[in-house]
């Protein structure tokens, strides 16, 4: 008895992507059941027509540039010209590690400037009995940020390595993601406020993924897990988190050594 075509074979054939085109053609010609099913597929997909895309004028690109220019000026371009500030443009010779180093340096700078951390804080911080040295504060803050990045990395790693096939229980990862998300919002806002679009962007990307994890059902299908996994991979978010955390740990050690040297 001849085996019928499955829907995957029909879909590939419909889109001209079948590697067994002649076989499918011959089968459709000889099998009423499959031909009927294929015609139904054709009718269905023929209904999925593109809605007209709103037209854009010929100078649309110029309009986009005008709007974009102001944003780039705010972030990266020197005023009155289109020249990029050298530190914001990651030149081809730089490595990802150097790029991450810039982020780490920006974090430290922002912390030391105290734009965020010296804002009014809960009493436990405000009422500290003795002043904290900048080195000690830097060390604590670097540690906190590195901890945060490593926690986020842990959450994403758990998802990325979830077992394949069948439904997956991600309740534990969700609990951790929920806590990480709260902290991430604070760090992201601080980064944005301190004019660190690159860092804010990484944390923003992280937040999107964390929100997705938190709001997913506890029991997700393997396809949904695969979506999350692909998203994590596509953004290289794990790599970025790892690099940033590593850089911060190094800085933390340096700060500790400096603190020790000063106290001795």
């Amino acid at each position: 008895m001849t085996k019928h075509l499955n829907d995957e074979q029909m879909i590939l054939y419909y889109y001209g992507e079948s590697v067994e085109e002649s076989f499918v053609e011959d089968h459709l010609a000889s099998c009423d059941s499959c031909r009927s099913e294929y015609q139904k597929l054709q009718r269905t997909l023929a209904l999925v027509t593109a809605e007209p895309v709103p037209q854009r004028s010929a100078d649309y690109g110029s309009q986009v540039w005008s709007r974009l220019q102001s944003q780039l000026n705010e972030r990266t371009l020197s005023s009155g010209s289109h020249q990029f500030r050298p530190w914001t443009l990651d030149l081809g010779s730089r490595t990802r590690w150097a790029w991450a180093g810039v982020f780490a340096a920006l974090i430290v700078t922002a912390f030391l400037l105290g734009h965020y951390w010296q804002r009014p804080q809960p009493p436990a911080v405000v009422e500290q009995p003795a002043p904290v040295s900048p080195q000690a504060r830097e060390r604590v803050l670097l540690s906190a940020m590195a901890d945060h990045l490593e926690e986020a990395e842990l959450v994403l790693t758990e998802i990325a390595h979830a077992p394949e096939g069948g439904n997956v229980d991600i309740a534990t990862s969700q609990d951790l993601a929920r806590e990480t998300l709260k902290a991430n919002r604070i760090y992201r806002q601080a980064a944005a406020r301190n004019g660190e679009p690159g860092l804010a962007s990484v944390l923003d990307d992280l937040e999107v993924i964390l929100v997705e994890i938190v709001h997913s059902p506890s029991n997700v299908s393997s396809a949904e897990v695969e979506d999350m996994r692909l998203r994590i991979q596509a953004q290289e978010i794990l790599f970025k988190l790892k690099v940033l955390a590593s850089q911060l740990r190094e800085r933390q050690k340096d700060a500790a050594r400096e603190l020790s040297r000063r106290s001795s």
């Binding site: 997909l45 690109g61 540039w65 289109h82 998203r231």
Partner: protein
Amino acid sequence: MSMEESDIAAVARAREGDGEAFRLLVERHSRGIFRLAYRLTRSEQDSEDLVQETFLRAFRNLSGFEQRANFATWLYRIAVNCSMDWIRKRRVHEQLDEGDADCGGSGTRSERSDSESRIYQMEVQQRVRYALKGLSPLERAAFVLRHFEGMSIEEIGGALGVRSNAAKHSIFRAVRKMRRALDPMVTRI
């Protein structure tokens, strides 16, 4: 000089800090990116924002562009990622609105004065929109790129940053969901 050579030359200049070169790239590709974003989101205003976001991300990541690659493809991929982020945010933060959810249409059909054919088309479009919203971000992107943009599965894999097999299975899942949503309409034909 071909378009691709011009793009690559412009990217090289932009990486050297030449803002005019980046402007050239923006002006050249904005309309295409808008069209893609609209196909994925079906929202005009959000597509405008996504065009901006795409170029901002491209600018920030110019160093990640490999000179041998096709700039348009690279930019396309960024635009797809931006659009997928948008879809994810919408899926997480918003429920499908009641108008879209009410896609059965039996109650409203009798109230409309348009012809049966017109009403049928409206209902089809409503169901298509609803079904597209029900797809996962990856399924939606893969399906739109295959069905509307006519990209091959291999190209879609490249645009989405996934293996061809993953792109293919996303399309399978998307088509199945579209079929479930549109089956009642097909039987009415």
